[in-house]
Amino acid sequence: MSLLEFVSRINPVAASGAVLVLVGVWGVLARPNLFKIAIATSVMETGVNLVILSTGYIRGRTAPILDSAVAGTATDAAGAAARMTDPVPQALVLTAIVIGLAVTALQLSYAVRLRAAGGGSSIESYGDEKW
């Protein structure tokens, strides 16, 4: 029973998101390959999204969409609002995911460009670049 008690005291979404952020940071720092860095960045980004969304996780509540299942027969707004989770982090994360794809694509096109200019695939080979 102690395991269930432990689970009920922590926020499981925040815990897994935080570990995923750490995995992503480790990947960015420890791997030299340009494409591997991009992959680790997207893993980290998923973790950050989970951490943001975890602040809106409320046990036993359902999605913030008003339909017959939430509102019951009568459409009382206050009663329905008491059965829905926090919509604000969801709205923020929704746009963050789309931005994430565009930023990943930009990152990858820089990698393609560097490769096409004859550079190596390891970030070590760009150590003396002047920016």
Partner: protein, 233 residues
Amino acid sequence: MMRRVLVFLAVAGLAWALLPLALGSGVPEAPGALATAYLTDAPADFGAANIVTAIVVSYRGFDTLGEVAVLFAATAGVGALLTRKRLGLGDAEPEAKPAATEILVTATGLLTGLLVMFGVYIFLHGHLTPGGGFQGGVVIATALLLGLLARPESHLSHGILAAVESLSGAAYVGMGLLGAFLAWGFLDPRALPLGRIGSLVSAGSIPVIYSLIGLKVGAELSGILDALKGDRE
């Protein structure tokens, strides 16, 4: 060796910073005051059944406009970086690509129309059901990706993508200005009649704005895929 120690220290430091968040934060019992206000007011204010959509399109409409602008900037960056000239391919012949299999070509013919229709369905119902402009736009981009995979030599028409993208962006700002003139502020959906909550034509200008976002996102993501696919002038 030194580097391994530094990486370990960085990760361990971040872990120490994140530990209270992961183990000590717990789960809140109820949403905060702002979220509760959104939950109770959004159906009455805007007639939107999906409250996330109401926040994305109207309460935080400025955020979404800025987000679409960032998406446009990133797409323009990808397109500018990956032209044949910039990649030093100049006059070289495009590489011969293996032809797609019969199964893929046939399935593409059958599925493309259905997928585009599904994307339009998702963003038209964004104020009623889960989904909206971003998800619908991604589904449309997937349909166009299927076409690119089935005909490896083909390209999406750059003119059409640019026209859809810029027209829907301009119309998005136009709908916002309409809200400023006819209702209470920029991007206010009450510029159009609210209708009965739960019906397709309701929630004022929310479905219109979200459909425009869907077209814009679909065109931009298709542009990214076409640029990354390669051999673009």
